[in-house]
């Protein structure tokens, strides 16, 4: 029997599913709230008693990332690894790494001030999709159709002026069916996939009400998911793809603490069970 810890900051269905499957496999599952856990430079692995491996499942990217750095400092095996979490949590880092590994991804423009982003947009033309480099669930993702729309975004960003507001990530609009594909990979193996159908607008995030539908993983999707997972550094990931009418499958996002409750309902594979098994195999290797 092994012991697995699930670190959370908001206990969701997914974390409870992981706990249940670990118990069903005969392992001990410890639920650890990152918000009330204290670690210092003299802390020892034994102080936390987190068992064989930790699944980091915080909904807050920065909280999870910093918690992961502390666990790795204590030599506690954690999934995903700090480097993977760090890259996948930032759309610019993730996109650059996809491209570097020759994985088809939508053309994306990066600017580092509002003036430069506006100049570039005038040069390359409308529409483009703007995405915050940090964030999820489609929040702050907008199609910029003309200069008025860009001016409004610049004005809002100049007011809020968070560090990431100064980074402009503008992506080419991909001609595709009104859906995208989410594939969950565990240890570079595609486990399950779903289509996420738009609920009206161009966004296809489940968090915004997109309709999930089981998707059969084609050879092309499988190869692309494996390549994307390996490029990020492996672990447990959610790979998002679009069916580009011109280029075929393109990978537009790789997610770190993947949500799976919707897909788990329709998937033939037991997703949380596979995650627990992989985590324990990961430390046995």
């Amino acid at each position: 029997m092994s012991k697995i810890s699930i670190v959370f900051d908001r206990l969701r269905t997914e974390e409870k599913m992981l706990q249940k499957e670990a118990a069903a496999l005969g392992h001990t599952a410890v639920m650890l709230d990152a918000k009330i856990t204290q670690i210092n430079t003299d802390s020892k692995k034994e102080d936390l008693d987190l068992g064989d491996v930790v699944l980091e499942r915080c909904v807050s990217y920065f909280r999870g990332l910093h918690f992961t750095s502390a666990l790795e400092f204590l030599d506690i095996p954690v999934l995903n690894k700090f480097d993977v979490a760090s890259i996948c949590g930032n759309k610019m880092f993730m996109t650059l790494l996809l491209k570097k590994n020759n994985i088809p991804t939508p053309k994306t423009y990066f600017s580092f001030s509002s003036e430069s982003a506006t100049d570039n947009l005038e040069k390359v033309g409308y529409p483009l999709v703007i995405k915050p480099v940090i964030g999820s669930w489609g929040r702050g993702v907008m199609q910029i159709v003309d200069k008025d729309a860009m001016d409004a975004i610049v004005e809002i960003r100049d007011i809020t002026d968070s560090p990431h507001d100064r980074i402009y990530y503008l992506q080419k609009v991909v001609k595709r069916p009104p859906r995208d594909i989410r594939i969950i990979t565990i240890g570079d193996e595609p486990i399950a996939a779903m289509y996420r159908k738009s609920s009206g607008g161009f966004k296809t995030n489940i968090a915004l009400g997109a309709d999930p539908e089981i998707c059969e993983i084609t050879k092309e999707m499988e190869e692309m998911a494996i390549k994307a997972s390996k490029a990020m550094g492996g672990g447990i990931l959610g790979i998002d793809m679009m069916e580009d009418e011109e280029r075929g499958i393109v990978v537009h996002e790789v997610n770190n603490t993947v949500e799976f409750k919707g897909l788990a309902r329709v998937s033939q594979r037991n997703i949380p069970k596979e995650m627990v098994k992989f985590a324990l195999d990961y430390v046995r290797k």
Partner: protein, 55 residues
Amino acid sequence: MNCPECDAKLNIPDDASVGEIVSCPDCGADFEISKKEGSNIELKQAESVGEDWGE
């Protein structure tokens, strides 16, 4: 248990765990279960959605 905001009755399932969020059916406020010992439950204000929340 009643909502600390509006005093409406909160429906907290028996199998709810520490860290789970419960929402008030009347005012919509979210609370996190901070302590649970048998039927003795303590709540705290849930964190609001942050810029860095998500997958």
